[in-house]
């Protein structure tokens, strides 16, 4: 499914309106009114069964924008009460995702299904191919016994009429670790002990029923309070908007951030350390090493793939080093990571040097609410300029390349890229861990999102164009070594 679809459009519009409400003279009341402004009395009902459900779903999206869990909401309360709660909050809630049950379609459970196209043919390859004896012919048609069927899709593959389909539940299908399942009512629920917060379900649900818990209100509050707030922008941000990274710097300063720092600066440190680590590991006889900057992958290791831990680099993430630098220089400042993905939300919650996370989508919505036209802004240089390699961290292959450059030909590096975590690539990684070697290469760059960070689920631009923009921009940046 395309990232810029109508569900996404709706999500972004509500985000802009929430931010506008924050800047208005009455945040609580104007937040409550958003759903009524968007779906006024008598208006067309574009998506749901009636106007009331439309408004309800909008309100629940706002609750997620306010950083609250739908799971803990008392529906008898007014939305304005929750807006106040968000505004007065000083601590963040733990889990980073929430399921909007009202928005969730409770779609039919995943299973194999025989459609009307079934001709009840003589050959009956479906019956023959089923290893589990789940298919029989009844009244001249194939019938699948759900209690025996294992969803292997063999019957689907062999049917000459393409009469058998697999019904998928998009969120379940997208989840690489089986953390999302239906509850008794058929609605999606997330098992946070399993969830690696990769955000693939957020992007996959056609109803937009899974939402990140935003921290935008907290960030805007700290700015409003006059605190010194530093934005740490991820390298992939350079390809997100129709402007240069220096104009983006200006735009963020106009939003009230006191300083903008490139996380690519930290990426430079990661690259140098990782190259050093790689050399040592190879000298010690290791057959391969995986990179360590992807938060989704790091969560995967911790929760599901401990066997690959000995092969994963111990070097810290670019964000870690950047946040450490920021805290050291400005111990009292609030630090905000500007992020391409959901997975980094967990890293930010776990790292005391990082206070908040602003996603690219939220940043875009903030610019809309502030009426900032990025392409017309004057550029502002950064205090410290990062290297080409650090700035390329967000594009596929960029991390491995930077380690190669940092290594300067000392080790024999053969890079291999895991382009996106899914059930298959996780199996692949598990296999390398088991064998203790990887025939594809010795430096494995693991990217949770397809296309690298530019393919992150909070990205505004598509990965292809973003990659090109970043490559064009970094051509003229200084080399790492």
């Amino acid at each position: 499914m395309d990232k810029n679809n109508q569900a996404q459009h709706l999500k972004r519009e509500i985000l802009v309106r929430t931010i506008e409400a924050f800047f208005s003279d009455n945040f609580e009341e104007n937040t409550r009114l958003i759903a009524y402004d968007m779906r006024p009395q008598g208006c067309e009902v574009p998506y749901r069964c009636c106007i009331h459900k439309e408004r309800d779903v909008i309100q629940h999206r706002i609750i997620a924008n306010l950083g609250l869990s739908m799971e803990e909401i008392d529906e008898r309360k007014l939305l304005s009460d929750y807006a106040r709660k968000a505004k007065e909050r000083t601590e963040l809630e733990k889990d980073v995702l929430t399921v909007l049950e009202t928005a969730c379609q409770a779609c039919v459970p995943s299973r194999m299904f025989v459609t009307d196209l079934c001709q009840g043919c003589v050959a009956r390859p479906c019956v023959e191919s089923c290893k589990f004896g789940a298919i029989s012919i009844q009244n001249g048609r194939s019938v699948i016994d759900g209690s025996k069927c294992k969803n292997c899709t063999k019957c689907m593959q062999v049917c000459p009429y393409h009469a058998i389909v697999k019904i998928v539940v998009p969120c379940e299908d997208a989840c690489p670790v089986g953390a999302i399942a239906k509850d008794q009512s058929g609605h999606a629920t997330i098992d946070f002990d399993k969830c690696i917060t990769c955000g693939k379900c957020v992007a996959a649900c056609p109803f937009g029923a899974i939402h990140e818990k935003s921290q935008i209100i907290d960030i805007l509050n700290r700015i409003k309070e006059g605190k010194k707030v530093i934005a740490m922008i991820a390298p992939s941000v350079a390809g997100q908007l129709p402007c240069s990274i220096y104009q983006l710097n200006t735009a963020l300063l106009q939003c009230g951030f006191n300083e903008v720092v490139e996380v690519a600066q930290g990426a430079d440190i990661t690259a140098l350390n990782e190259a050093e680590e790689f050399k040592e590991r190879m000298q010690n006889g290791d057959k391969f090493m995986t990179t360590s900057c992807c938060a989704g992958y790091n969560n995967l290791i911790a929760q599901h793939l401990p066997e690959i831990k000995p092969f994963a680099s111990d070097t810290k993430t670019p964000l870690y080093y950047t946040a450490e630098l920021c805290r050291k220089e400005n111990p009292d400042a609030i630090t905000v990571f500007v992020s391409p993905c959901v997975a980094k939300r967990r890293e930010c919650l776990d790292n005391p040097n990082i206070d908040y996370l602003l996603s690219y989508e939220e940043m875009g919505a903030l610019f809309i609410a502030k009426k900032i036209e990025v392409s017309t802004l004057e550029p502002t240089p950064f205090k410290t300029e990062a290297s080409r390699e650090g700035r390329n961290f967000g594009i596929l292959g960029g991390v491995a390349k930077s380690v190669e450059v940092a290594d300067q030909g000392q080790s024999e590096i053969k890079p291999y890229i895991i382009n996106g975590l899914n059930k298959q690539t996780i199996r692949e990684l598990r296999n390398y861990a088991k064998k203790g070697e990887c025939e594809m290469g010795n430096l494995i760059e693991v990217m949770c999102c397809e296309g690298g960070c530019v393919g992150g689920n909070c990205c505004v631009n598509n990965a292809k164009t973003a990659t090109k923009t970043i490559t064009d921009f970094t051509k003229d940046s200084k080399p790492l070594k």
């Binding site: 459009h9 402004d37 129709p242 875009g364 900032i372 036209e373 164009t465």
Partner: protein, 88 residues
């Protein structure tokens, strides 16, 4: 016959609301209609500046007609319509 002019708004609002995907038109249109249609990304067309007009973004102008909540398909359809009816 003058060429049909397609202007894709590349303002911040349009871009964030989905124009990033319309960039494919910049490659697609010349391939399909190189003789009759000209396409380019342009700075903010100013269509979003009224109150809450960002909900209609992204905007694309095909000649003088505005396509709101534009998608690649919508824009191509509009081009086809003008081509069929002949240029005014």
């Amino acid at each position: 016959m003058s060429k049909i002019q397609v202007k894709i708004c590349m303002g911040t609002t349009c871009f964030v609301m989905g124009a990033s995907n319309l960039q494919e038109l910049i490659e697609l249109i010349p391939e399909k209609y190189s003789d009759s249609v000209e396409v380019c990304g342009v700075p903010c067309l100013g269509l979003c500046s009224e109150t809450k007009k960002y909900s209609g973004a992204p905007y694309v102008k095909v000649n003088d007609e505005v396509v709101a909540e534009a998608t690649t398909e919508k824009v191509l359809k509009q081009i086809e319509r003008i081509l069929k009816n002949g240029q005014e």
